[in-house]
Amino acid sequence: MYVDDAEIRDVIAGHQERNGRVTAILEDLQQRCRYLPEQALRIVAGELGLPLTQLYGVATFFAAFSLEPQGQHLVSVCHGTACHVKGAGRVSESLERELQVAIGKTTGDGQFTLKSVRCLGCCSLAPVVSIDGRAYGRMKPDTVEAVLSDWRGGDRR
């Protein structure tokens, strides 16, 4: 999604807190653009008076940030310990088949990005898949399709 320079400067201006300012700005930008465009990182570096290398370091260090555009919906397959023991691998394979995309990639129509994440903290309902932050528990390879159908075709239902 395109965000112009003025909006980037507004985002920066909206974060005046000292603690966690850099990650909060990048989180905000990631949400608006669905990734961190190079231009945005350059402006943040300039406005905050930080070296671009530091911004690049932060942007590539944390799992929540991405330098490539992400899909409209983020499908996260939990691969925490409980989910692993309870068959997260099979759920992943099933999602890859359904979406016809590999883990870490975005579908051709830009609708879904499929990601593997480390523990969503719903271990008691393992295996868990989360779509845009909404958690689905006790997943099975054959329940994947029904869950995805809620989110297909633009906005949810």
């Binding site: 990048l26 530091q54 944390f62 309870k86 994440v117 309902l125 393992a126």
Partner: protein
Amino acid sequence: MNSAEAVLESLQRQGLSSLYPDRIRITVGRATCGLAAGADAVYQYIREEADRRRLDLQIVSTGCLGWCQQEPLVTVQAPGRPRLVYGRVDQALTGEILDGAGGGSFPESRLIGKIYADEVLLTGQRIFLTGEPESGPVLDQTSFYAPQLKVVTRNCGYIDPGSIAEYAARGGYRALWKALQAQPEQIIDEITASGLRGRGGGGYPTGRKWQATRRQPGDVKYVICNADEGDPGAYMDRSVLEGDPHTVLEGMIIGGYAIGARSGIIYVRSEYPLAVVRLQEAIGEANRVGALGKNIFGSGFDFQIEVVKGQGAFVCGEETAMIAAIEGKAGEPHPRPPYPSEAGLWGKPTCINNVETWANVPPIIMRGSGWFTGIGTESSKGTKVFALVGEISNNGLVEVPMGTTLRQVVVDAAGGAGRFALKAVQTGGPSGGCIPAGMFDLPVDYEALTGAGSIMGSGGMVVMDERTCMVDVARFFLSFTRDESCGKCMACREGTWQMLQILDRIAEGRAVMEDLELLERLALAVRDASLCGLGQTAPSPVLSTLRYFRDEYEAHIRDGFCPAGVCKGLFRLVIDQEACTGCGRCARVCQAEAVSVIGDVAGQETAKKYLVDQERCVQCRSCLDACAHRAVRVIPRGGAVVDAD
């Protein structure tokens, strides 16, 4: 009475009338685990149906009662009656519950327990809900709750986490008021005397940490709450933040007063969006009533708390890495000393404690260190919350006194395994180890668990049965630490990668016996030559599985056989014709259509027998998991054929 006491009194009155109203109170557990199980739909349905039926009900969202296996959990409290706790609530059961609320009788099905009295831990007081004699099932006496003692999770699932009044009604913010009457040094002495140790896993004495930060010169100091719960398989902190955020705030404010800090930060992972919302609401409420902000309760003490979101990096659980992240840098650790207590956030003295540690502070201040030291073992005091997950009947959060045996937790509370024999319990996540079932009499105690090659850890407890391959478990954790290694130290960055290469070879049947020695040598090198806890403990899952399950590693290498039937290509699935009853469940669950009937047996049309077509089998094990008669067997690739093929 001064104004602070008046505020607390008024909040308490308000909270009591909300907790024990003169109409029916229905609570729905809407923490993340409840929501994943469908609690939102239940909550909406109750609201809509109550409106439609014109029922005057108090409908409240709470956190998690702990018995996650039973989510969605709903409680119903009619005036003068015991509180009824229902599990696995769906729309149909909701309808029956509302029939009860409308004057009929409440359903008996899926009633998992009744509560006759509430214990207010902070005051030691009991509030009786009813004069009726107890009749089963009593919630506290169920196998899941019987071994538990709730100190940290005392309010979770009972109160509306958005209501400071309900928190106050359970004794909340009284500890802060009490602490503000004392000298900061007295508070530190009390925490030191209580023997409280860090619940994030390290077990460092909390009082000593506070003292070290207090002693540093300077006006500006910080306290930080580590809520970057990155350990896969652990969600105790999430549950506390979502179910009772004020107890964490109260602990931090008391800590700030004792240490001499005026600013607190909660570093919470962004994967916990609900916890972030709950914390922000709670901070607003605490500010509103004067428990936070300027001149707290008229004491002259100022303290503010802000939330910083972690953006996904396991290493940020390490204190120095977390500080770097808050300062806007990549979350890499740096050598200690200087310790954060000397030069932490922005170079100022900083005290970092975990969520559960902070949550223990108000009870200790209210009930005194003597009460706290009465719980637990010689070296480990108080309780510990565990996230009990994996191959067990009762998943959930349990809080038990230190000294409780693993067997009491895993077998008694968790209900043990189902049809398959328990094999091990993993504690401490990627930094911990696997403790075999033969050692389940070990007590929950920092030193005992360390002695057994694992650690207390933050509280993840993943139970594994005979279907879990220990090589695969070690490989899982190593792939985790390899990914999460920040790359600063060569030993951790390259060592975890090399160890994973060896584990891959073993799991794929390409290893030689010498690889085991190499793996051990590498493990020790990574442990000794890494800067931070991540690298120092990354080899633990490998070392502990080698210690207790070496025969499994050897079977993979020597026989090309994965006895648990996990490592693909290193086993076959066959059906034991003696044990098979011909129910056909295996054939129905097989997505590869590899299970088929071999014909009627002894002329009985119903007694069909099945076999696995090895050409088609993709080794997904759906049949093994589905068979109620344990007729599906894991055998070596070239092993004796039980099948009739």
